[in-house]
Symmetry: D2
Subunit: 208 residues, 4 copies
């Protein structure tokens, strides 16, 4: 695997879906993610990477899933199974606590929030690519949820669009070890130029 | 020019930027559009087309320009002149009357509002293409503002993406007759399969 | 899982990467795919689905990987690992037998070949979405190679773009059962509305 | 208008459609472009800019229109008027002299040719955005044909995608002065951050 380097002009941190429904006690999907997330210290790691980026002035971007709103999907003729599931669970319902960002991950002034994505990729049908380009970004450090759906989708799209991706492997989580393995060991190595630990990434960022 | 036909399954009305800042007395840009808009009865025509679509159950979509919010553009390294202008005028400022849709054009339940666009095309960096596809739409009837910027951009992108476009030539307006002429007579005829009057479109829709 | 139906107006068969390098004895990657491909009769199944589509006049589209040409990638600053691998192996080298379509899968007149894709998704940076739209297609039946790279990527992008996808699970192959499992059982069920056998798909198509 | 600066790492020259059919004596469309093109020395200017870029090692990209091939468009349900025209004229017919690049503009090794575009924008349904990104490009200097169709479309899309554009106003041409005026004076000023003469651009590039 190539040696990836970072610099503040070209590099951004991309935080995917840090919603209460995913990563807070009491969130709709937390119980399904908890075992994996607690085993690898996912939430503290996400926070360490975020804080390191903020301290080093590496710009932070957010890719957020569509928050469920009444009427969504009702008129669609074509819908993917993962969207049917989001519809039936009302995941990240707009105006509810579950659809809010977990407080420690709340975007700060100067951090960039892309428009919400309808399916899994933070790039599909959003302004994420535009916002990265208008800031001159070519290298992404990716953290967040869920490894084999939104994270993998966003990493795949990033590579297709020409971005160089670093995946932080202990700052993500999934429903099971098998799902994590599919994402981190089978698929993402084809698209991410580096797959690193939180410690490795924090050290790299700190030296910028 | 080919003879365009419509049917309810494949056809949608696309309403572009019916903001108070554009089309209401007192709006920030209204004074610059007023002469052309009053000469061709733009606003009443837009309303006639919208009402005809609603009555015939032709689905209605909205393409809306990004509403200015504090912090926008400040960190961008690259920005187009039309965005610099929007930035300096705070066009469609979020939370203000100018950034609201003129009341008669307010979306109704079952009508689809795409995410806001940052520049001129309703398709660029938004979910408009996705939402049209999930509803099975291939034919667009286009009305709204401003002819040579957002309207022309959206028509051009629609054609590039494979949609069949009808432009309603007296349900749009511009800063000057020359700008209207550039849009309606020079450019849009290359991309729209039909350029019709409100009367022609309303008659066609009414017969569906 | 929803019950998927097909009709000739809305449905297309999408054939992914039927190159000699992948699916012919002597191809550069065939030895790595052979075990899985022979176990599930991948190639005969692909051919059965293709013939059924042709007989029923379901339109056929091809998504083909970029054929290696001298100079490719040499000037790129950013490149994904899977592209580095394609570069070093000169996969599907232009002008060589390995970069030709296996003869039984050669496109016939009226079948549509999208521009070549650089990474894994048949949609990324190609005209596939345009060509599907100009033909009125909303439903895709997907066959081809390799399950967890180009096939999964294309299925994911199709769902993100609003297409309804059927995956033919025994008309694809991979390097290992584990890779197949990751694609067919873990990831694709989130994005494909149906995952069927060749027999099921051929029967459905035959009844159109 | 902002003061645009260039540097070799971020800047590329984009040459649009330098086909014999457009810019060579005997080309299918040359007679319609000749008056404007000869009045502003379009072809010599295009060549001066190209040579300046090559000398300064500013990377050169080509956006080329789809070359007509038998069968094209025949099965399309939806088609834009400009594509119907290209179809009926067999513009840039593949395998003919008219579909070849005029010899002085032939790409050299290390210059990048995007996949062909079907309509007017060099970005729509092509790999141009990817190829610019993989080379780290954010600033485009645009020359070529035709001002109000492919050139304007490509400039508009470039701005929508976040690129900073310089238009070289005497290195393009059109059917009439009115068409040139619509492109150069009415529309492109909204999307290009600078509209310069060949002399100005050549001087800027020479100083890099």
């Amino acid at each position: 695997m190539m040696k990836v380097t970072y610099n503040k002009q070209l590099t951004a941190l991309l935080v995917i879906d840090p919603y209460n429904d995913f990563i807070s006690e009491g969130g709709k999907i937390w119980d399904r993610l908890k075992t994996v997330a607690e085993a690898n210290d996912c939430i503290p790691h996400m926070l360490q990477v975020l804080n390191a980026a903020r301290k080093a002035e590496v710009r932070v971007f957010y890719a957020l899933h569509h928050r469920y709103r009444p009427g969504d999907y009702e008129t669609w003729k074509y819908i993917a199974p993962i969207q049917e599931a989001a519809w039936s669970h009302k995941a990240f319902e707009n105006g509810t606590w579950g659809g809010e960002i977990r407080p420690e991950f709340e975007p700060k002034p100067g951090e960039i929030v892309a428009t919400e994505h309808w399916c899994s990729s933070g790039f599909a049908n959003t302004d994420l690519d535009l916002l990265l380009k208008t800031h001159g970004i070519h290298k992404l450090i990716v953290i967040g949820l869920i490894a084999h759906t939104c994270v993998e989708a966003t990493v795949r799209f990033a590579a297709e669009l020409g971005y160089e991706v670093t995946m932080v492997k202990d700052a993500t989580a999934d429903y099971s070890d098998e799902d994590m393995h599919a994402a981190l060991d089978i698929n993402i190595p084809n698209y991410a130029s580096a797959i690193l630990t939180t410690k490795q990434v924090v050290d790299s960022i700190a030296s910028l």
